[in-house]
Symmetry: C2
Subunit: 465 residues, 2 copies
């Protein structure tokens, strides 16, 4: 796929985050030493002027609407933190469940855009639905429609928006969450437009955060912001009715590519959730073909009696995006390993799979894994699709064993089966909920569209205190 | 000042916000009619896969940290909604006070960047300080330092970032609020860097929202996001230590102009709060010179006995930015009138001033005001600075009365005095708090830097139930 990054990145920027952090944390900040009396007086003027403005507008309809929306979050024990005993207000539940669902980088992927659509959408939907005791049918409907909105906006802006630095899951996710929650709240068209408009001012997420907790924070923050946008709209809060498409609206501000037909074409006929996929491996999707290829190598080795020690070198050829996203050569922990195609290859070759356990700090730092990943020599070949991988094991003595993976397991062409999804679910939840409860929860998931009330499912998904 | 907008705006985009709103609000969304059984099954797979991922990570340290931060907001009656009797959690107070402080568009302006710095920073600081019973000294320090951070980042990116469509108050405000709250929480350098990093993923605000409630929502949402970023960092949440400056970090993602020296130069010596200004008029800063000029015309008219009916035409020459931001010719209400230089001229000529009252729906729609604003003929002249205005009243019979305002009242060169600020404060607060209480609050503001505990000031700023 054609890519061009419009403005050359500046790789020589000074470390301004650190410089500002030192300034903020350590500047003495006292009139006598840190700054002049004039600066200090200006601070008082600034504070007083701000305070007067805030008091003055205290009864404005904008504040009445916003306060009414905030009050919908009280009292606070409204929705479940999944996998735990705590209940929190629904906006915080959206945030927290959005974070946890993306923490393992094991969630779903809309492959056309690399959006992980459920994180923002399902997290906001379940939190709101649990509090409002919505039906399972309404939850499914909101999910389909919310995911359609975020992925269609993503289709319109991808790849320029993503190339520029946006974590597209968070930046489009706010819109998807707002759409889903507006739907669940049964807002009318006008209020729904306002919900989308308020959400349009809150795109979340920069790719620089990959490998830190702020990456999974993105879908969580998007879920929260989308839910709040719908709640604000339900209380009469207003936004521009052209907040997405106007010249100074969201889409033109965060992307120079905007293919509007991706939004309007076949709307209500083609549903983007049809193109959703699920990860068999607990890491960035672009590593999957490489893991799959190395797992296939492992099978060949087993069949032919080749020991791992005989491997001199793994030659890996992949699309440039793979190394751009997951080129960490020496990951120091599990989180970093999720962005290391080198670790992915070592895991595939050693275990034949790569679930969350294979991204534990312990395994990432195991001596044999470190040795093996250092044998991986990755080169860029943009004639290879980013969904494929070309792997050759070069053995001592010079023999070459070659595997080419066109479509990795979990891709649209080679999807996980329902049974594989159930096995993946058990692998994730048994330790926290027990196997029996996990099975019951799986049953509740399949029956969700017919259930009268989603609260029973939510209760099953929580752990005893 | 030189400006260039990198990519031509698309003024012919379809109305996708409305199209999506209709789709979300009205699509039947039932398996039997709205979409195929395959789509519905995919929705169940998506939901189950998401749920398993969320449960699976329920005990991850990222979720522990995020839940701990959310729990800091409970129980909820932590901080005052200014001018009202309610108390809410501190994050909601930051949101609400940020909204109200910018609702009248009457707050402060950092003229180099058109940032309204107090909205995000002071709103987050006072909410946190009230809950933690911080000293007034710590509040002032946090205010100076938070405003320095947001305005320095703004200086680095302005004007490209703003031209592109970002409401720079919200986009840099999250960082300023995070810095101020990190300071107030006495986070160390490492945690402060994380707070700035988490905030960097949450720039808020598009210019398309001007004229709607979502414009004042921007500083509110930035205040809330910045406060939460600091709370998250205090509980061990992590982000990239290069989240601002990296090629895929915030600044390079949202701006193609990044002058790093604006951040690092004279840090701790030059304080951007010194360049803050306060509005005498309750509307966008770029209208002020035009209002001031028309108010001066009014004085000339009064002196010379010229009646308003004698005015045939008002010729207004201003920088292109003025019409770009405030070119609404036929405002239908007070909120829109704040973005109408035409209404501003009519108010200046009629009243000699333009406080909140002169932007009421009633006055905006008064027949004489409508007649007068339609007499204003605005033309662009980029040789005139955006802080100036050239106004000529053409009278019946052909006489021309000319006023040129180089620096409007409220500008850095012609600042409001402390006494004028106090009068402005009374004008905003007397109706809500009473004159005596407003005077006491003014006293508390001037004494803030010496006060042991900010809660007394916060209590004065609330209304009785």
């Amino acid at each position: 796929m054609a890519r061009n990054t419009q403005v050359a990145a500046d790789h020589n920027a000074p470390l301004v985050t650190q410089i500002l952090a030192e300034f903020v944390a350590t500047h003495p900040g006292y009139r006598a030493g840190g700054w002049s009396a004039a600066v200090d007086h200006e601070a008082h003027r600034t504070f007083m002027n701000w305070l007067g403005c805030a008091v003055g507008a205290a009864r404005h309809e904008a504040l009445e609407a916003a306060l009414a929306a905030v009050n919908l979050l009280q009292p606070a024990a409204q929705a479940s933190v999944l996998g735990r005993p705590e209940k929190v207000d629904m906006a915080s539940a959206a945030l927290l469940n959005g974070i946890s669902s993306h923490t393992f980088d094991f969630d779903d992927t809309h492959l056309k855009t690399i959006i992980h659509p459920a994180g923002p959408v399902a997290s906001s939907v379940l939190a709101l639905a649990e509090h409002t005791k919505a039906s399972g049918r309404d939850v499914i409907d909101a999910l389909v429609i919310g995911i359609d909105v975020s992925c269609r906006v993503g289709n319109a802006m991808y790849p320029e928006h993503y190339d520029r630095g946006w974590h597209i899951t968070g930046s489009t996710g706010t819109l998807g969450a707002a759409a889903a929650c507006a739907r669940l709240l049964k807002l009318d068209t006008q209020q729904t437009a306002m919900a989308l408009g308020i959400a349009a001012s809150q795109p979340v997420g920069m790719r620089e955060q990959f490998g830190t907790m702020t990456k999974p924070f993105h879908p969580g923050a998007a879920a929260r912001a989308g839910l709040m946008s719908a709640l604000l709209a339900s209380q009469g809060f207003t936004a521009s009715p052209k907040a997405l498409e106007a010249p100074r609206g969201m889409m033109q501000t965060v992307s120079t590519k905007n293919d509007w037909l991706e939004i309007t074409g076949e709307l209500g006929q083609r549903f983007e959730i049809s193109f959703n996929s699920y990860k068999p491996f607990a890491c960035g999707i672009v590593i999957h073909p490489s893991i799959d290829a190395c797992a296939q190598l492992r099978e060949i080795f087993a069949k032919e009696g080749i020991a791992p020690e005989q491997v001199e070198r793994i030659e890996l050829k992949v699309h440039s995006l793979v190394l751009e996203l997951t080129g960490k050569k020496e990951p120091v922990d599990g989180l970093q390993a999720k962005f290391s195609v080198y670790h992915g290859c070592a895991a595939g070759l050693t275990f034949g799979h790569a679930a969350e356990e294979e991204f534990s700090d312990e395994i990432v730092n195991r001596a044999d894994m470190v040795t093996l990943r250092r044998k991986v020599v990755a080169t860029v070949d943009d004639s290879i699709d980013e969904a494929s991988a070309d792997v050759t094991a070069v053995l001592k003595g010079g023999r070459r064993v070659h595997v080419f993976v066109k479509h990795a397991i979990g891709s649209l062409e080679n999807p996980m089966t329902d049974a594989q999804l159930e096995a993946k679910f058990h692998g994730l939840t048994d330790a926290l909920l027990g196997a029996a409860r996990s099975s019951a929860l799986i049953g509740a998931c399949w029956a969700l569209g017919d259930s009268a009330d989603v609260t029973a499912l939510a209760a099953l998904a929580t752990a005893r205190a």
